[in-house]
């Protein structure tokens, strides 16, 4: 920032002259807008791409509930963290620290489900087959694309807000958007294997999180 050669009084005069009534930031309204956008995205996705054919069967497996439940909790938690940090008196770091506890717990639950399932699987397939990288990459791209609407919305809210920890806010926003994208895609994706989910969904969420962490603070400088 360049040095301004204005007297203090001139600056105060200029700011007072520029004063106009402002619409106060309303966190509740922001949360509501995000919820509506998320709902519309989910509805559109289901309308256009449909639900996986084996949904009734899948709904009886713990792995399905683990996958969707974890993603929903992570998305809600990260979005709340991001929104709460848009006030200069708020903080995103505390929420992020809790998220770092939440994610390993979700992964550990997946591991337990996996360990429980292996006994019942007749043939033990190889790691490579379980990961199914061809499908995995498609999953990753889909999740990343589905995270775009929420990450853009969060970016706009961040621009209007005033985060004093832009990096942490941006990361929380990216993780929230990606977890939501993954939650939406899970209605279509018939992969339930916890290993597959952790690797491919995890990769997608990580990539979107990093991208948001790098890009959003530039858009929301103040």
């Amino acid at each position: 920032m360049t040095t301004r050669l204005q007297s203090p009084d001139a600056i105060i005069d200029a700011l007072v002259a520029d004063l106009a009534p402002v619409q106060r930031r309303r966190p509740g309204l922001e949360a509501l807008l995000l919820l509506v956008l998320a709902g519309v995205e989910l509805a559109l996705f289901i309308a256009l791409r449909g639900i996986r054919a084996d949904m009734p069967v899948a709904m009886q497996t713990p792995a399905f509930w683990w996958k969707s439940g974890s993603l929903l909790v992570i998305a809600a938690f990260a979005a709340t963290t991001a929104l709460a940090s848009l006030d200069p008196a708020g903080s995103a770091q505390r929420g992020l620290r809790r998220l770092w506890i939440l994610v390993p717990i979700a992964m550990a639950m997946g591991w337990l489900i996996d360990a429980g399932a292996i006994g019942s699987v007749a043939e033990r397939v190889t790691m490579v087959a379980r990961l199914d990288w061809h499908e995995g990459v498609i999953c990753l791209v889909n999740v990343a694309l589905l995270s775009l609407p929420p990450v853009l919305a969060l970016g706009l809210l961040m621009r209007r807000g005033a985060s004093v920890q832009p990096a942490a806010t941006a990361l929380a926003a990216g993780l929230a958007a990606a977890a939501w994208g993954a939650f939406v895609f899970a209605f279509r994706c018939d992969h339930e294997d916890p290993l597959y989910v952790v690797v491919w969904y995890g990769a997608a969420v990580t990539l979107v999180g990093i991208a948001a962490r790098l890009l959003l603070p530039r858009l929301a400088r103040w």
């Binding site: 920032m1 040095t3 301004r4 204005q6 203090p8 600056i11 105060i12 700011l15 007072v16 520029d18 004063l19 106009a20 009534p21 402002v22 619409q23 106060r24 930031r25 848009l86 006030d87 200069p88 008196a89 708020g90 903080s91 770091q93 505390r94 209007r160 807000g161 005033a162 004093v164 920890q165 103040w222």
Partner: protein
């Protein structure tokens, strides 16, 4: 502030006039004297631009402290980018009293730096010595002084940013 959000100019002028000395005090404890005025101006502009984010149902002090701290980190990073630039001649007079009382909070944080970095920053940025004088005084080479200032200021910005949730520190 609530009145300012409604667009009441007189109340806003009173608020800004009261904020200025508070900010001057805040930044003179935390920044080299040469950039205190800039930091105060930046913060007044930021308060103006983000006045809609204040919720009158909550205390004003933490909101203000958050904005001021954000601008403090901003300044430290800015200072780092111009690490090797010397101060303008007029500011380069070491003033004994100012050197003792200024930037006390910053000097406290500098204890966390390597001694070589802290010394280079103190001599050039706070006492107003030239890079060459600082090199002579410390026995560091000219380029090492620059590197030490650059790295030290980066570290300082990081320390402040990482402790950003302790809004209620000294004042």
């Amino acid at each position: 502030m609530a009145a300012a959000q409604r667009g009441e100019a007189a109340a806003y002028r009173r608020l800004l006039a009261e904020l200025r000395p508070w900010l001057l005090r805040y930044f003179s404890r935390r920044l080299p004297p040469s950039c205190v005025e800039d930091a105060v101006q930046d913060t007044l502009f930021a308060i103006h631009a983000k006045r809609h984010t204040y919720d009158p149902a909550r205390p004003f002090e933490p909101w203000l402290a958050g904005v001021a701290r954000y601008k403090w980190i901003d300044r430290l990073r800015n200072l780092r980018r111009t690490a090797a630039d010397e101060l303008p001649e007029s500011l380069a007079t070491p003033d004994h009293e100012a050197a003792v009382t200024s930037a006390v909070a910053l000097q406290g944080l500098m204890l966390a730096l390597k001694p070589g970095q802290a010394e280079a920053i103190r001599l050039v940025k706070l006492d107003g010595l030239s890079i060459e004088e600082a090199a002579l005084r410390t026995g560091q080479s000219v380029s090492l002084v620059k590197v030490n200032i650059h790295r030290g200021l980066g570290k300082l910005a990081q320390i402040v940013a990482n402790s950003a949730e302790n809004h209620s520190d000294d004042d």
